[in-house]
């Protein structure tokens, strides 16, 4: 079954294409936006801006450290740099530069990490960004955004551009089905969206896993369990109120992310829940493992990132709260 089918969600085009559209939109509307590329513009789709506004597009080549430093300089001149590459290469090569030149300096710069998660598939684990959210979590001033569908990608790119300060935004190679009506995603940085109401338990997800969570919720409803689904599109600042309310009102929480369990959405949510209103929790995400080259759908099944995995975790959490 196609992702989102069970929940009745319509398919869409790959998220990187949506990102390219959204980036072009903000670059068109705001002449202060400049785009920096680490020679992957044709993959991240940042190249849409190169075609439209060549004077505001800079390919710095395969040199991520310098890429980030140059972006910091442009931010220092009052421009809004979108510094773009694959999450894996950009964050891992230039973490020190993002830390000092962007995060510690609290600069108004935007980091786009594309090909997040494992769903880039066949290029394999060397290219996958399975640790991007954890790495960005290590930078206290960095806002962290993970859009879940085309409308939220557009809204997130706009919100990131408007926000004054450092922002990391995750993009993906994979297509994510429509969760929100096109052009109509309520998106406030730090405010989770409840995309399905329910009182029996809450599933908190981001990115691709929001659609999977809605599929799981549709399955659970058939079993008489009503799951609330939260699209936690912002990992920093966390929506503590929404998480505490979910814990208090449903009594059980499942988290789902296309990321290592270490340092990603689940561990962040657990910290809030444990500190406010502890309830039984289960976590869907990558165990301590590097995955392999394969078709994205096969990877999601093998590494337990499907709606069925979320539903199974939900049944466990729901049972635990009954005890």
């Amino acid at each position: 079954m196609r992702l989102g089918e069970k929940a009745g969600l319509k398919p869409s085009k790959p998220m990187r294409d949506v990102f390219g559209d959204a980036l072009l939109e903000v670059a068109t509307n705001n002449p202060r936006v400049v785009v920096l590329d680490g020679d992957l513009g044709n993959s991240t789709k940042a190249e849409y801006v190169r075609q439209a506004f060549p004077e505001r597009f800079f390919n710095l080549g395969i040199a991520e450290s310098n890429l980030v430093g140059v972006g910091a300089g442009l931010a220092g001149c009052g421009f809004i740099p979108w510094i773009t590459s694959f999450s894996s290469f950009l964050l891992c090569n230039a973490y020190d530069q993002i830390r000092l030149a962007i995060a510690m300096s609290n600069l108004n710069a935007k980091i786009l990490g594309s090909h997040g998660g494992i769903t880039l598939g066949k290029d394999g684990p060397t290219q996958m960004g399975i640790e991007d959210l954890a790495l960005m979590g290590g930078l206290p001033t960095m806002v962290i955004l993970v859009p879940s569908d085309p409308a939220s990608m557009h809204a997130a790119v706009q919100a990131a551009t408007d926000h004054v300060g450092p922002v990391f935004l995750r993009s993906s190679r994979v297509a994510m089905p429509h969760i929100y009506p096109e052009g109509d995603c309520p998106f406030e940085i730090g405010k989770a969206n409840v995309v399905r109401q329910g009182e029996d338990l809450a599933i908190v997800a981001c990115g691709l896993m929001v659609a999977a969570a809605l599929d799981a919720a549709a399955q659970l409803a058939e079993e008489g369990i009503q799951a609330r689904v939260l699209d936690l599109h912002t990992l920093r600042p966390l929506d503590r109120a929404a998480l505490e309310a979910a814990a208090r009102e449903t009594g059980a929480i499942v988290t789902a992310e296309e990321h290592l369990l270490q340092g990603g959405l689940g561990s962040n949510v657990a910290r809030v829940v444990a500190g406010s209103y502890p309830v039984p929790m289960r976590f869907v995400g990558l165990q301590d493992v590097y995955v392999e080259s394969a078709d994205p759908d096969d990877l999601l099944v093998k590494y337990h990132l499907t709606a069925a995995d979320i539903a199974a975790a939900a049944r466990e959490a729901f049972a635990a709260k009954q005890r």
């Binding site: 080549g61 140059v70 009052g78 530069q97 000092l100 030149a101 510690m104």
Partner: protein, 280 residues
């Protein structure tokens, strides 16, 4: 004739300014009980030439004036020298210097952008400043401003890959308004550079990356000013001024002992150093 005399007088005043800056670095680091006095001492004449020798265009009352020349201290451990020269240039009250490394003070051990006026970049992890400088060049072009960008590099810092990424990119973008100055004091933290890492042939490396290279005695104020003025005429590519310096310059027993790299002078040593600097 008159001009020669006034230039000599100016040079004397500049030498006195350099002496004051060196003394302030000594006081700051001794008061803080830590810091990098020797790495700061080697930069003093370079900074004096830039800020007081008519090279940099700046406005201390409007530190973020869009058309200011940028000065980026890439070797962030020379923060005491940066703070001292900024204070003397009028960016902030000189009394701030005595708060170096103290709690609740903006005068951080290494420069943090946004905490002190005149600090253009956060540095301290080496290798980063040249890239930021290139960003300011590209931003200046987009804004149609004609300011110049100066980046002070350490020599050990040139072991970092990012320096050469930036060097390649600056030549690619024909960053004619970008000038790097290398504080070539021949020592890194653990010892003589020639012993720890083969950096030479350095001038050839920069030249082969497409840069205009010039060399100077980094403690000769007149020669520094002359070289920096000359480099302003290089328009088609970035330029580097390799300034041959002495680590710990101005204090004999610091010059003779590279282990002062990350160590302040104690009050007794500072008293002796003060005397030497005052008598020089």
């Amino acid at each position: 004739m008159t001009q020669t005399v006034s230039q000599e007088l100016d040079l004397l005043a500049l030498k006195e300014k350099a002496r004051q800056i060196r003394l302030d670095i000594l006081e700051m680091t001794t008061l803080a009980g830590s810091g990098h006095p020797s790495s700061s001492f080697s930069t003093v004449e370079i900074l004096t030439a830039l800020f007081f020798g008519g090279i940099l265009r700046y406005e201390p009352g409007d530190p973020w004036w869009v058309d200011r020349d940028r000065f980026i201290m890439s070797k962030g451990h020379a923060a005491p020298a940066l703070y001292a020269v900024l204070a003397h240039a009028g960016y902030f009250d000189r009394q701030e210097l005595w708060r170096l490394r103290q709690i609740d003070s903006p005068v951080q051990g290494h420069p943090i952008q946004g905490m002190m006026p005149g600090v253009e970049a956060t540095t301290g992890s080496l290798g980063q400043g040249l890239s930021v400088g290139l960003g300011h060049i590209l931003g200046g072009r987009l804004n149609r401003l004609d300011y110049r960008v100066y980046v002070l590099l350490g020599d050990g810092e040139c072991e970092a890959g990012q320096i050469w990424e930036a060097a390649m990119a600056a030549a690619h973008f024909k960053a004619g308004r970008l000038t790097a100055i290398l504080d070539y004091n021949k020592f890194q933290e653990t010892g003589p550079i020639s012993r720890e890492m083969a950096l030479e042939p350095l001038a050839e490396k920069w030249r082969s990356f497409g840069w205009y290279v010039s060399e100077v005695d980094g403690h000769d104020l007149g020669a520094l000013i002359e070289s920096l003025q000359e480099l302003k005429s290089i328009q088609d590519r970035p330029a580097i001024l390799i300034a041959h310096t002495v680590k710990g310059k101005g204090v004999s027993f610091v010059e003779a002992d590279f282990t002062f790299h990350g160590r302040a002078l104690n009050p007794e040593q500072a008293a002796k150093a003060r005397e030497e600097i005052l008598c020089a």
